[in-house]
């Protein structure tokens, strides 16, 4: 097998890995402000894709408008989840809230199934479907879109969290809710923002991925699982770790399928995850949690 094959594995891995990474990013944003693992994260990705298809096919709105509307709608779905499901129950323990998110994910999936049926859908690619050839490997223009948009999202999140007052406020909430409240941060608002931002990131992921990965009402289940694994690999709570974890998982899967055996592709990725949990439980880029006594 020549070098071009390996390059092809790398490119496919990075493209699929971006999916996992974007889902993982969403997990991290909510985890950072609330300590909740939001298991409806995969559903945001599904909604991003399905709503884009919905606006495009049923209302003929054109691709850019459809995708923008899908992202906006999903962002409001994120807000609604916080207001209707999480905030009324916020006095409960974290584990209860996590279970609520599982319930929410089943609800969203059920509604999507009733509204759009159980078929798989596709979106047109953003800029043609002639593959570009590079050193013997074929790259779809859509893959480049995905990688570039993923990077852009990462960069803007970095700026948001380190430079803006809201971003800093959200980070402060993750360290200590009570202290943040005392210094005048509106914790409820920060939690609401975190749900909206992670829904938005998920929806963008869903919209840009659908042209090559297709989507259906239950696409969120596996994405949620893989995204969560990516979080663990990268270290829960670290946005860059999450994105990197996603890319690593994607590349591992692709090389596992190409070089070792395609029958054990998923097993291979989870095997690496297990080893990592034994060797470095905090994840590749995670910090050890320190408890002060």
């Amino acid at each position: 097998m020549g070098i071009s094959s390996y390059l092809q594995f790398l490119i496919s891995g990075l493209t699929v890995g971006s999916t996992y990474g974007l889902t993982a990013l969403g997990f991290t944003i909510i985890f950072n402000t609330t300590g909740i693992i939001n298991f409806a994260q995969g559903e945001f990705v599904m909604l991003g894709g399905m709503l884009s298809v919905f606006f495009l096919k049923w209302f003929n709105l054109g691709l850019p408008v459809s995708i923008s509307l899908a992202i906006i709608t999903t962002t409001f779905v994120g807000a609604a989840i916080d207001r209707l499901a999480i905030r009324p129950a916020k006095k409960n323990s974290t584990i209860n809230l996590i279970i609520i998110t599982i319930g929410v994910s089943i609800l969203i999936r059920g509604i999507a199934m009733l509204v759009w049926g159980k078929d798989t859908f596709s979106l047109p690619q953003f800029s043609g479907h002639e593959p570009l050839h590079f050193a013997g490997a074929a790259i779809m223009p859509q893959s480049i879109w995905i990688l570039v948009i993923t990077l852009l999202i990462l960069m803007s999140l970095k700026i948001f969290f380190s430079k803006t007052i809201y971003g800093k406020g959200m980070l402060a909430c993750s360290y200590d809710k009570k202290a943040s409240y005392l210094v005048g941060i509106d914790v409820n608002k920060m939690v609401l923002f975190s749900f909206m931002i992670s829904a938005m990131v998920g929806a963008i992921g869903g919209a840009i991925l659908t042209p090559i990965t297709l989507t259906s009402y239950d696409a969120g289940i596996l994405l949620g699982l893989k995204g969560f694994s990516a979080c663990i690999i990268g270290g829960l709570g670290n946005p860059f770790g999450a994105a990197a974890g996603g890319l690593i998982l994607g590349v591992l899967e692709s090389f596992g399928a190409g070089v070792i055996s395609s029958a054990y592709k998923d097993a291979f990725a989870f095997f690496i995850l297990l080893i990592l949990l034994f060797v470095k439980p905090s994840g590749l880029f995670g910090q050890k949690s320190i408890k002060r006594v």
Binding site: Q8, F9, H129, P131, I212, L214
Partner: protein, 381 residues
């Protein structure tokens, strides 16, 4: 006065409770279908078809003057739910025959119950193992993988292609296909140079295809159901692989062409005649009934036809035929008359059941088609 009112009201309600029992006697036929869950793309058209057919039969006066009562349970593509549904149908509803389940796994889980209860089960699932070895009470309507594989292989041999790569999905459908592919290839003088697998929810198969590209395969055979094969079709075009791609009958639906778009062009697959009903010659025995079914279904449900609904059509009609020929609704008589069915024109092909063959179809149930300009075209040899 109050007592009289009470009496009237009680009488009224008890009449309402009793009235179903007083209604005319019906023939109860059960159905276990995966209307929701992963196999819903199969189960939903099956349910629609069964309901439509029931209405058509009942509006014409039913069978032997009795209306059909169809009791449908959704197994949600879940084995446990299928088992529960089978118990309900056999013990509570006391049906005379059952059509379904939709998937092979669910059929395996419940067939033993039907053997014990002595009620015929006409499965809408494809796996060959359902009827091989023959079980006394179990029949199935879809064509077997064996028929599809030998159809593909004969076509390959006619093009002098002897080396192929296979890529199969790691679910029941794909793995059953893989076994038959591996079994029949050496028998027909075809060499498998690559044997790749992908997951049912995978979204990128370039790794597997790159591996296949590195071999000297002259054709690729892919065994799977949507959406995987659509992704493979796209990846194949992306990687510039020029050798012909053969798909299974599992993607013989318009959805596949919609999902794969331009990448679907030039793909070969064996398909039941239902999807090419327009193209088969007028004198073909299946032509008239297929055209009617396609027209009825599409006008009633406003969604395009697929081969899957046809499996339920065949199953229910076979039961109806068996009841009509035997003039009996006794499950044992239905079974015996089912086994005697010869030359029954169904959607999947022409059924000839025997004591050794509870599928009743052969390779001729398929037409080889190629996808051209977003539609199927029958290849004439």
């Amino acid at each position: 006065m109050k007592k009289i009112y009470l009496f009237i009201i009680t009488l009224f309600f008890s009449c309402m409770l009793v009235s179903p029992a007083l209604a005319e006697e019906t023939i109860k036929i059960g159905a276990i279908l995966s209307v929701t869950g992963p196999a819903s793309f199969l189960g939903e058209p099956e349910k629609n078809t069964a309901l439509m057919l029931k209405d058509q039969i009942n509006s014409k006066g039913g069978i032997m003057g009795k209306k059909i009562e169809l009791i449908i349970y959704d197994d949600e593509t879940d084995v446990n739910k299928a088992v529960l549904a089978a118990d309900k149908l056999l013990k509570k509803d006391k049906v005379v025959a059952v059509i379904g389940p939709t998937t092979s796994g669910n059929t395996f889980a419940i067939e033993e119950k039907f053997e014990k209860a002595g009620v015929p089960l006409i499965s809408c699932a494809a796996a060959e193992k359902i009827v091989k070895p023959v079980k006394k009470w179990v029949f199935k309507t879809p064509q077997s993988d064996r028929h599809a594989v030998s159809k593909i292989f004969s076509q390959l041999l006619s093009k002098k292609i002897k080396k192929i790569a296979i890529i199969t999905v790691s679910d029941g459908f794909g793995q059953a296909g893989r076994e038959v592919l591996k079994e029949l290839a050496p028998k027909m003088g075809i060499e498998l140079v690559a044997d790749e697998v992908y997951g049912p929810k995978d979204t990128d198969m370039t790794a597997q295809l790159v591996k296949i590209k590195g071999t000297d395969a002259e054709a690729i055979v892919c065994w799977g159901t949507n959406p995987g094969p659509a992704v493979i079709a796209k990846n194949r075009v992306q990687l510039g692989i020029n050798i012909p791609l053969y798909m299974s009958h599992g993607v013989a639906s318009k959805k596949f062409i919609e999902l794969a778009g331009d990448s679907a062009e030039g793909i070969f697959l064996p398909a039941g005649r239902i999807i090419v009903a327009e193209q088969i010659p007028d004198k073909h025995p299946q032509k008239a009934m297929l055209k009617k079914y396609v027209k009825d279904y599409e006008s009633k449900y406003k969604s395009p036809i697929s081969a899957f609904g046809g499996h339920a059509w065949d199953a229910l009609m076979l039961v109806v035929k068996a009841i009509e020929t035997g003039k009996s609704v006794n499950p044992a008589d239905i079974r015996n008359n089912l086994e005697k069915t010869r030359g029954f024109i169904g959607t999947a092909g022409i059924f000839n059941f025997t004591a050794e063959d509870h599928n009743g179809l052969d390779e001729n149930a398929f037409e080889m088609v190629v996808i051209e300009k977003g539609n199927w075209k029958i290849i004439k040899k």
